[in-house]
């Protein structure tokens, strides 16, 4: 046993504790960390929180309301019809026709599906090749669509559907022989619009340049003179 502990009085132990017990000094970084933590963080402007809150609320409301807003559609009926017809034409350009059929054999089925009868129909010639015909549903009406391709590869879509409310816009009318269809443009496409009785007729293509329009007139003549749509029911 150590001599030191033979006489290990309280006083001796106290001295040893005060003098011999290693002391640990705080690392330098600790003081910096504490001071930094105690420093007030940069205060945000008082108006920032309400502004962000308001912006977030507006965004949420917009996200909730936008889907139920009515779609912006043209108020003018002819323009509205043309937009629908152009959409159908675009779909055909991108995806092709849904039901390819040789027209004469498909006519009874088309009449049944579309409610449009075609006592006379343009089935193509040396300039315009018939591609297909199919029923369509546009502007809440069943109708018929016939697609052609010209020798240069332009696709044309002829659409006939009941359109009692359609008024052919006079300012856009163009005299072509004895007919006065309206030439309406939409989304980079051109459409001849005319009526035969209560049937609205449209011939759509991407031919919009001055030269193309002359050719487009010729195509209108061919289709208009040889196609006779009537309401079947």
């Amino acid at each position: 046993m150590s001599e030191r502990f033979d006489e290990s009085s309280d006083e001796m132990l106290s001295r040893r504790l005060a003098g011999e017990l290693p002391r640990y000094a705080a690392p330098a970084h600790l003081r910096v960390t504490i001071v930094d933590a105690a420093a007030p963080s940069a205060r945000r402007p008082a108006w920032l929180a309400p502004l962000l809150s308001a912006a977030a609320t507006v965004m949420v409301l917009a996200l909730a309301v936008v889907p139920v807003l009515p779609r912006i559609v043209p108020s003018e009926p002819a323009q509205r019809y043309v937009r629908a017809v152009v959409s159908e034409h675009s779909r055909t350009l991108m995806w092709g026709a849904r039901h390819g059929e040789i027209l004469p054999t498909a006519l009874p089925w088309l009449t049944q599906e579309s409610g449009i009868a075609l006592p006379k129909v343009f089935v193509g010639d040396d300039r315009l090749e018939f591609i297909t015909a199919e029923p369509v549903y546009l502007e809440r009406q069943r109708g018929i669509a016939i697609h052609y391709r010209d020798v240069d590869g332009h696709i044309l879509t002829y659409i006939a559907l009941p359109a009692p409310g359609l008024t052919v816009p006079d300012p856009a009318r163009v005299q072509i022989d004895r007919w006065r269809p309206a030439l309406v443009r939409d989304s980079g496409f051109a459409a001849w619009v005319w009526k035969q009785g209560d049937v609205g007729c449209f011939l759509v293509s991407g031919m919009v340049s001055a030269d193309d329009i002359e050719r487009f007139k010729e195509y209108f003549r061919r289709v208009r003179s040889t196609t006779e749509p009537v309401l079947a029911y």
Binding site: L13, A18, A26, L30, R31, I34
Partner: protein, 170 residues
């Protein structure tokens, strides 16, 4: 915003608090965390400090309370769970757990013996004998009567002497 005077005075006790924290936690990273937490609390509640009273004792009190609240619970949970000792069987003056690889190294028998003391004994010796706090201040830090402090000092020294004797005879 912390009063700069208060902050300066409080930081003057940084080394003492860190030393105390090292003997409580036995791990430098834990000591760092404990001291940081102590200062943050002290700054947050600086308005409660009564000028003229012993700032160092107040800081020691915050440090020990923080240790007891967070660190000792963490320290105790693992051994108890591993050994399956029911909670009611844990003695009030429990022995500190054995060292592991991350604990600080002991430089002397005295330090090693101190580390083996229960926290209550370590604290009372560190505050009264090492830091030289008056018994009244130690009592305030430990939230017990002065008589209890005296009794703990006596028992702590006895325990310490026994441990030192063991080391000497090895």
């Amino acid at each position: 915003m912390v009063d700069p005077d208060f902050q300066r005075q409080a930081l003057g006790h940084l080394d003492a608090l860190y030393n105390f924290a090292m003997y409580l936690t036995r791990r430098p990273p834990d000591a760092d965390d404990l001291v940081q937490e102590t200062y943050l609390r002290a700054f947050r509640f600086s308005h409660r400090f009564q000028p003229g009273t012993h700032l160092r004792a107040w800081l020691f009190q915050i440090l020990r309370n923080t240790f007891l609240t967070f660190y000792r619970v963490r320290e105790r949970e693992a051994p108890i769970a591993e050994e399956g000792v029911p909670e009611w069987d844990v003695p009030m003056f429990h022995h500190a757990p054995d060292d592991d690889g991350t604990a600080m190294d002991s430089h002397t028998d005295l330090e090693r013996a101190m580390r083996r003391l229960p926290e209550e004994f370590r604290t009372v010796l560190l505050l009264a004998e090492v830091e030289g706090l008056p018994l009244e201040e130690v009592a305030r830090v430990m939230a017990c009567p002065v008589g209890t402090v005296k009794s703990r000092i006596f028992r702590a020294k006895e325990r310490l002497r026994g441990l030192l004797r063991d080391y000497e005879t090895r």
